[in-house]
Structure formats: C-alpha cells, structure tokens
C-alpha cells in the first residue's frame, strides 16, 4: 500500500503537486492519468525515493519513507519496482542476459542458474522464443515486455509502469495491456500504471486517479469516470481539443 499524505512538490516556481492525498491499495491496477507534464511521473517517483516531497508524507506499507536515506530505500525498492518509459535494456546483451542481470548482481545467483530463471520470466511475458535475440532485433513492445520481465526477477510485490504503451501501436499496446492484467490477476501484484492511453485505461484499470492542475481531480473506478459530470473529466475522456481543461 502506498499512501500520500498532503504531498507537495515544486520545481522552482512551478508547483507540480499541491497537497496530494492518495492511497494506492494492494493487488489492484491503479491508473494515474492526466495531460503531459501534469506531474504523473513526479508522483510515482516519490514512491521509490527518486524524489522527496517539499512537505507532506509518503508511506509504503504503513512505514513513513519520507526521510529515508538511500540505504533505507534499498529494501523498499526491491518490493516496489519502477519500469521507465524509455527502454533501459543493455543493447549489447541478449534479452535473456538482460533479464538475468539483476539476479546475478542482486540475488548473487550463479550465471547458468540466472539464465534458466530468466528464460522462465521471459516465458511469463510470452517471449521465451526470442530469448537469444538482441534488444535491437525485437519490436518496441517486446522490449517493454522484457523490461517488465526484468522487473519481475526480484519478485516485487508492486510494479510501477511509467507510460508502458506510449509510442506503441494499437496491437502492441493491447499485448502490454494483457500483460498488465496478468500481473495483477494471476501473479497477485499491485500494479500502478502511468498513462494517457484511454483505450488501455478502460480496458484493464480497477481504479483511475486523474491528476489535473497539481491535484487529484477524480479518484474512482472506470465506471465513476464514465459517469462523471465534471466538464474537465468529460473533456479528457472524450478527447476533445477544446473545453474547460487547461494544459
């Protein structure tokens, strides 16, 4: 469970988060949505200690992590993994070796054993047949899936995916969506997805958090979203170019 209590964060004069209160529950798929530059990434980075709030508290599983040192963050970052939008795979290693790497470094697992385990994780994302290919040889959506497989190797309870379908075509996006559903439904993970991909949002989300103007504008299940009469929400959901929404 990740809890934000009155979290504020500014960069220079720009207020990105303004007293945000939010609770992200376990084993749910929570989508954090909003226009580009509203602070979705900033919000989730607070959960893994890449940013700390100017004021307010952040709690992970009931522990106040707001003032944690880098050393204190280590165990938290094993339980909760952030997968970035851009591929952070190593170009010079096969997909299998990329997935095996964290186990070899952090799990101190021997090389051949790590490779076997890696194959299993690639299977979990449906890519076992491409294990010996290089990142450059596979599609962008497959690189994304490999990044997720790599994140799974440390057996986290929670995955945060920053814009996993941005830049992917519809079919590739749907494959990533299916993987997201699989993570929560079959593997029992907590999944937080940063997105502005509406199709993906309504397809798999248990819950949607809509960020607008440094605050949570709406927080609820997809149905509540569709039913909302808030003109800003309506404009976002409808994808209208004009309306009350300011970007």
């Amino acid at each position: 469970m990740i809890e934000y209590r009155g979290v504020s964060r500014s960069f220079g004069p720009k207020v990105v988060l303004d007293r945000v209160d939010l609770v992200i529950r376990d084993r749910e798929i929570t989508y954090v949505i909003g226009a580009s530059g509203t602070g979705k990434s900033v919000l989730v980075k607070h959960a893994v200690g890449l940013l700390s709030p100017d004021s307010g508290r952040v709690l992970v599983d009931g522990t106040d992590v707001t003032d944690f040192t880098e050393d204190q963050w280590r165990p938290v970052r094993r339980r909760c993994v952030l997968v970035f939008q851009a591929s952070t795979l190593f170009d010079s290693m096969t997909l299998r070796d990329n997935v095996a790497l964290p186990m070899r470094i952090h799990g101190k697992v021997p090389r051949h054993e790590a490779r076997d385990l890696a194959t299993g994780y690639l299977e979990a994302v449906g890519l076992a047949s491409k294990a010996d290919m290089m990142p450059a040889e596979v599609a962008p959506s497959e690189r994304k899936q490999v990044s997720i497989a790599r994140a799974l190797t440390l057996s986290p309870e929670c995955l945060i995916l920053d814009e996993p379908t941005t830049g992917l075509d519809v079919v590739a996006g749907a494959m990533v969506d299916r993987l997201i559903a699989h993570l929560a439904r079959d593997l029992g993970k907590t999944v937080i997805v940063v997105s502005h991909d509406l199709r993906s949002i309504f397809g798999v989300a248990d819950r949607i958090v809509f960020l607008y103007k440094a605050a949570v504008r709406l927080d609820g299940p997809p149905a509540a979203f569709r039913a909302s009469t808030d003109p800003v929400v309506r404009q976002f959901v409808g994808g209208e170019p004009t309306g009350p929404m300011e970007t």
Partner: protein
Amino acid sequence: MELTAIPRAVGAFVLSAAEPPRAWAVLLSRSARALVRRPPPRDRLLSQMFDIGNRSVVFVAITLGFLGAISVFQGVMQASRVLPDYSMVGATLINVMTREFGPTITALMIATRVGTGIAAEIGSMVVTDQVEAMKVSNTDPVEYLVAPRVLACLVMTFVLTVFAVLVAVAAGALVGYLRFQIGFATFFSMRLVDWADLWEGLVKCAAYGVAIPVIAAESGFRASGGSEGVGWATTRSVVNASFAVIFMDFIIASVIYLVTG
C-alpha cells in the same frame, strides 16, 4: 530599493557560487567511499584507463611536443640578450616541465578530451532516465559510473604527465641541438630538479587527476532536458574543470613556495 536588497543579492551570489564546489566535495567523498568499500573490477578499470590514454595520448604528445620546442626557442632568444650561454636552457626546461607545464597542460588536455567524454556519457544517461533506472534497481550510480573513472583518471594523469614531460623535453632537446647546437649531454641536465620540484609535480597530478573526473561527472549529473542539456553539461564540464586546474595550480604552487621558501 530596500536597504537589505544589496546584502541579500550578495548573499545569494555567494551561495550560488558555493554550490558547485559543495557538490564536488560530496561527489568526491562518495566516490572515495565507494572505492574503499567495493573496488571496481579490474577489467572495468583497465578498459577505462585504456580509453583515457587512447583519447588523449596523441593530443598530449602534439601539444607538449610543440610547447617544448617553442620553450627552447624562446628561452634561447631571451638568454642570448643577456649573454650567449645556453647551458641552462635544458635544465630550466626540465625543471619547469616537471613541476609546472607537464602536469598542468596535460591536465588541461585531459579536461577537454576525457572530461567532456565523462560529462557527455553521464549526461546522456541522465536525460534518458538511465541513472534513475540504476537507482531504483539499487545500483549506486556513483559507485558504478564515477568511482572507476576517478581511479582510472588519477592513474592515467600520472602516466600521461610522465609521457608529456618526456615528449616536451625530447622535442626541446631536438630544437636545441638542430637550431642552436646545444649538445644532448648539456641539455639533459637534472641539476635544477630537486625533490621539491618532483613533489610539486606529483601533488599537482594527483589533484588534477581526481578533480577532472569529479567535476565532469557532476556536470553530467546536472544535465536536464534532452540532448541540449547534454551539450550544456559538456561545455560546463570543460569550463569548470579547466578553471579548477588553473586555480589548483596556483594554490599548490603558492603553498609549496611558502613551505620550501
């Protein structure tokens, strides 16, 4: 205007000017701690050292070669105005190369060739989120990226400086012999080099060798906002590192002068 405006502006300026040196100190101590706690693997260290040498050796050779040749030429010109005795030209060149120009000019070359490389490499990792990705996978970017470069650069600054001094003196000797008929035996004279000069050279090498990668890495970590940010980081790196080299040169020379009289 309020009365407090000027002191406040001065205060803000002092604080902002003190910010980079503070960041360098923090980065330096974190790298040192990482080096002690977990020394980098030898193959990574060797490949860094090879890379540093490979990038700068030609550059250093050409620059210091010409510098040695020009120094002899100028030295002879100056000496001949007083009295036509060239017997001290070689000894003077060796002295000034050992404690001053060898380390300092080499360091300036390293700052441009190697420092910019470090800043660009780290800067592009920062703007593509790779540094943050390292952090969340519990890999310390300082331990992984900075510490090996600091150690490699420290060692290679010594190596390149020794090489630079040899090239400069050889080039100088060649000009002295071909143009002014100074014999090699006369030229290669160590009589003006004492322990204090060697120490001065060594201390400077150590200071530059550590400062350049630290300053470059810090510039890289500060990069933001795409490839433009990487460009800024490399520029800032070469400006700051060069300035730091000149500044430390002055400080170290002054201290040694005060201590040894």
